[in-house]
């Protein structure tokens, strides 16, 4: 199980006033917030696997917001990014969205608009993290199966009846039934459908 860490809003903006005002706004609504004055500082702090979201200025001297986004994608970070853009940055915002940003907001903005976007991003992050946690759990359960149990599972998921599986594996039908019960138990499956869904969840993306 992943231990529960409170989601944090990470703010990266080179402008001290913008950075500080965001920190204050987020604090006023009780959201944990951490601020960084450059993209590099954020990368160095290794926060990208933490739960939360990233509020990122698109224009910064040195590494720009877009360049940080590319680096985070390379690190397989799932942290949702909300870009803060100025006027006339629409082409950059489009590029950011194509690279997977959840949203962008133009300066100056209404606080509620930003907070709504942040909440959506946090929900999305929580969802992603739940899904990841679930996959990890399923993988762990799969790893607990014996090679024989795994063979039986694969054939069950392929939709084969016990009799066919017994034939395929040169086992008695009774032995297949015992393995199958062990698999259901180890995988904590409520039903055959649940078992299939779990296996597909972790194996489909890889194939």
């Amino acid at each position: 199980m992943i231990k529960e860490v409170k989601p944090t809003v990470f703010v990266v903006d080179d402008d001290a006033a913008v950075r500080d005002s965001l920190r204050m706004l987020l604090k006023s609504v009780g959201l944990p917030v951490e601020v960084f004055e450059s993209a590099q500082e954020f990368l160095d702090a290794d926060r990208d696997d933490r739960p939360g979201c990233l509020v990122l200025d698109i224009r910064m001297p040195g590494m720009s917001g877009l360049e940080l986004q590319v680096k985070l994608n390379e690190r397989h970070s799932i942290l949702p990014i909300i870009f803060i853009t100025g006027h006339g940055d629409v082409p950059m915002a489009v590029e950011a969205m194509q690279a997977g940003a959840v949203d962008f907001i133009q300066k100056p903005f209404r606080d509620q608009d930003l907070l709504d976007r942040i909440n959506q991003a946090l929900d999305k992050d929580a969802g992603s993290r739940r899904m990841l946690a679930e996959r990890n759990m399923i993988r762990k359960r799969l790893e607990s199966l014996t090679p024989r149990e795994r063979e039986v599972l694969d054939l069950v998921v392929a939709g084969k009846a016990n009799k066919v599986i017994a034939g395929d594996l040169n086992l008695s039908q009774r032995t297949v039934e015992i393995h199958r019960a062990r698999v259901m138990e180890k995988m904590e499956a409520h039903s055959l459908a649940h078992l299939v869904r779990m296996v597909l969840e972790v194996e489909r993306p890889e194939e």
Partner: protein, 520 residues
Amino acid sequence: MMARKNPTTGRVTAPRPLSQSEREFRALLDAAVDAIIVIDHSGTIEEFNFSAQRMFGYTAEEIVGRNVRDLMPEPYHSEHDGYLQRYRSTGEPRIIGIGREVQAVRKGGSPFPCDLAVGQLRSGTSPRFVGFIRDITRRKEAEEQLRRSEAELRLAQELANLGNYVMHPQGGVPDYFSSQLHRILGVPEGAGQRVSRPDFLSRWVHPADRERVAAAFERMDQGLTPLDIEYRVVLSDGTLKHLHHIAQAVHDADGRLLKHVGTIHDVTDRRHAQDEARQLQDRLTHFARLSTMGEMAAGLAHEINQPLSAIATYAQACQRFLRLPEPEIDEVMAALDQINAQALRAGEVIRRLRNFVKNREVKREPVDCGRMLEDLRTLAETDARLHSVRLRIEAEDDLPTVYADPIQLQQVVLNLVRNAIDAMIEAPEERREVVLQTRRSADGEVEITVADRGSGLAPEATEHLFNPFFTTKAGGTGLGLAISRSIVRAHGGRLWHTPNDECGARFHFTLPVSPAVTGE
């Protein structure tokens, strides 16, 4: 021995022997320097001395007995008989005893100028006349020469719009005052119209220049320095003129002041041309500043948007803090401080921007380079940020003050920074840095360097780099560097470039520390 013609027949008769007194008279005539001709009442030549023969080219034999009108050009040739006739009938002299300058004709027909004096001989019944003639060709030539060189001088002065004068110290009224000088100062030519020095100072010299001109006169009088000064005069009709006045005192061997000689050059047109050229340059410079600003518009909008955005966010945070069951007053106070600071920051950006693009008169003043760079920082950083370029400013402490137009200097620096940023758009992220350095150079000047780490200058580009309208940028005017160099030169400095250590280019310019005196 002279041959003689018979006055009545016109034929040459044999010479008769001369009496003693006649011989003496003839010797006297021949010894005379002037030509002497004696005619009878009808104009027939009776005597024609040696000088006359030399002057006119006739021998006595050729001319004696002929009418004197043969020695005259038209119209006198035709009218001479009439003159004699009238004198005989009226007795009223027109030339006798008076003398005048006339034209005569040599044998062969060439005319020449001469002075003629005529006397009447009263011996016998009918009057005879004696003429004394002096060839004045050479004097006339000398006069003509003088007249021509005077005319040439006058023309030269007119063309150059230059007048001259000579003035003796007593009385302060010039002894010589050229016509062009009359014209320059708008004084009619003629005696009593010369301008004395006190008059000149009080009635011509522009009030704002009066003290300076008087001091310069004073220094010249004391023999300290020759006068060399430009000032303005206002003529009686209100015309304003710019004069360049050069004069010096001339002393005798004992060191006594003899006179002042001087020239006054009307340089009004030149000044106007200079003014126009400067105005044009100023307009072009202003235009270049505007176009620089145009290129930076997006970045500047961003720069003003930043504080506005911060203000909005702080204000919204305040509202939320105040709505809490237990309002966090400390946070609100801190936010309000920031709101205040950010509003001032936005105002400051606008102020600097306005200063920079304002069409204003070029004004030199003592400039602290450190402060100038600080004023520039916002504009430059804005542009750098827009292109994800870092800007590093390395200013040496205690830089000396330069005498310059601060806005024009900012224009030069900003232009170089813009070029540096543009040179690095394609460069990898870690290289995107512009270094702006100020330091005191080896020879004591202030040197400002802008270094980039872009692709450097192509050899074919360096050749035309400072030419107006040469540009390597898609939207460039090609004026930036040309104008930057002319601004730096006008401040008495140099602008050049060198390759940067590993890659890219460095642009340097210097500014002299002491007040720069250059024509601008």
